[in-house]
Symmetry: C2
Subunit: 355 residues, 2 copies
Amino acid sequence: MKIAVLPGDGIGTEIVAEAVKVLNVLELPLELEEAVVGGAAYAAQGHPLPDSTLQLAKDADAVLFGAVGDWQYDKLERSLRPEQAILGLRKHLGLFANLRPALCYEQLTHASSLKPELVAGLDILIIRELTGDIYFGQPRGRRTAVDGHFPGAEEAFDTMRYSRPEIERIAHVAFQAARRRGKKVTSVDKANVLETFQFWKDVVTEVHAQYPDVELEHMYVDNAAMQLVKAPKKFDVVVTGNMFGDILSDEAAMLTGSIGMLPSASLDANNKGLYEPSHGSAPDIAGKGVANPLATILSAAMMLRYTLAQPEAADRIESAVRAVLAAGLRTPDIYSDGTRKVGTREMGDAVVAAI
Amino acid sequence: MKIAVLPGDGIGTEIVAEAVKVLNVLELPLELEEAVVGGAAYAAQGHPLPDSTLQLAKDADAVLFGAVGDWQYDKLERSLRPEQAILGLRKHLGLFANLRPALCYEQLTHASSLKPELVAGLDILIIRELTGDIYFGQPRGRRTAVDGHFPGAEEAFDTMRYSRPEIERIAHVAFQAARRRGKKVTSVDKANVLETFQFWKDVVTEVHAQYPDVELEHMYVDNAAMQLVKAPKKFDVVVTGNMFGDILSDEAAMLTGSIGMLPSASLDANNKGLYEPSHGSAPDIAGKGVANPLATILSAAMMLRYTLAQPEAADRIESAVRAVLAAGLRTPDIYSDGTRKVGTREMGDAVVAAI
Ligand SMILES: CC(C)[C@H](C(=O)O)[C@@H](O)C(=O)O
Ligand SMILES: CC(C)[C@H](C(=O)O)[C@@H](O)C(=O)O
């Protein structure tokens, strides 16, 4: 089984190194091959997603990804900026299903902004469509307005769109995931305003007919943003489009208070996937050895479970992570009185030891 | 000064009645005229925004609006649904600037989902552009896809767009508001993905040159959704587009824990405005006399301040609201142990008495 390892920028290299250590200790027949991506790839090869990196990712069975982005690349034209690497990988690998668990670990409940009783035991799965919507819709650009409030003025525009098969396949992913969990799907739309999301709602409702054992609820995106704050535990599986999913999955992750703990999977139609932490490249703490590697380590566990069909190995990693938390080890982002503050490497070593 | 009073559906009639009572006690030369809107207007006249209602709103100096929407109208075709009334009013009256304060009242801090120290004293102003973006952009509809992932498939689409003058005028509103407050503007965009919001960011940056005394910060919308949860007090004025503003203003309102207290203003280029509570029509509690009228009463105060140039009258209302809160009166939505639970009418009467 071949894994493309793409550490990227900022803390990416540090946290991916720990996940690789953990994978290596499992003694599975894994072949890991590393490549540059993001700002690091731009610096080395002039493009955030070089052909060789994309080819490696295509040839691999799964991709383990760190994070991309650093201030020094902010002024580049959009097509050369680090985030184009992740957008390009999603598109070229057809990774349409983004799974982002928002889970509140018992020992970290206090880290949340929310009152403990609202988040204790929280376990939501946000499923975000990842290759459609306004992210990739054409046409887009700048032009002279011909209508609207100011005809003749300069304007910029983008196209939001979803086709029936795109909605169908992500709906199936959501209903199937719900079957293995709390049997409830909340489909988030803005059908009261957008044609795209009236269609979304219609198609999700149609697909639901095949899953009579799963409850389906529809919710407007503005209301979903509120209900996540008010009563997050009422959700089980949330499914939505690329743009709304970008916003809601980050909101939900932050609700747990420990975004440094949250993995993510981006899957194609055959369960091939890219796995990355839910947090970003955090250039402000890069190179200091203080980043939390657990989200990346847990992403490696997701990879073993979803793509590499090694559920026991995934279990071993996840149990080891719970064990180090129970033992009181904390990186600074999740530190609190009475626990032991450790660095990135020490945390990775502890997980390895626990395995 | 002529005010169009549009109570609408659900709790709309009850809460607007209390605001009208409060306005009447001020003994100002106000002429109030009522009309149907939303589902009530559809039921009575076959359209959620009848011509006569729109004309009344156009002729008035300001509009006091309750809320629209009720389950019984959910199955109507989109153009006849209650929310078309509010979209139509915004469009036809040119109400491009939506001001939504997210304020945490001292006595209600405990009502928030967030830990008290994170929201005590919270005072953010969210400024949402209200007549552009993907809400009104053309073309939109359904068609057969000619490209994308599934050419030949049925698809739905919408157009996101902003022209330079639209961005300029809302940016001016934000910078001017910040001047009267904490002197900081956070402009929320998704410039890393959307042409529309790269343009937004560029134009806001240009307008900022005229306000050297105000600090400007740019933030991606996903990050803004997180920072609102993590550290809401870091914000002063937030300015963003119609779609992102819909989501973030509701999220911010819910953070306060007392959305029943939050007014809003939607202004045109001449400060003519529509004023409404931030919450919805709550059909589940309609007619029970338990809805909180304070958001609507405070919306009337905003109307006096922004459109009718009666700041002293606005002060009187706002002080009266603070007084009834200090006296321990609470509608069920903000009730807690040790306070006195009152109904809609009793709360309105208390404000009148305090004035
Ligand atoms: C970097 C950016 C393009 C990306 C997105 O918007 O999808 C990120 O926010 C994410 O959620 O992975
Ligand atoms: C009812 C709906 C069309 C409306 C909107 O999306 O603008 C509402 O959510 C609001 O924020 O006023």
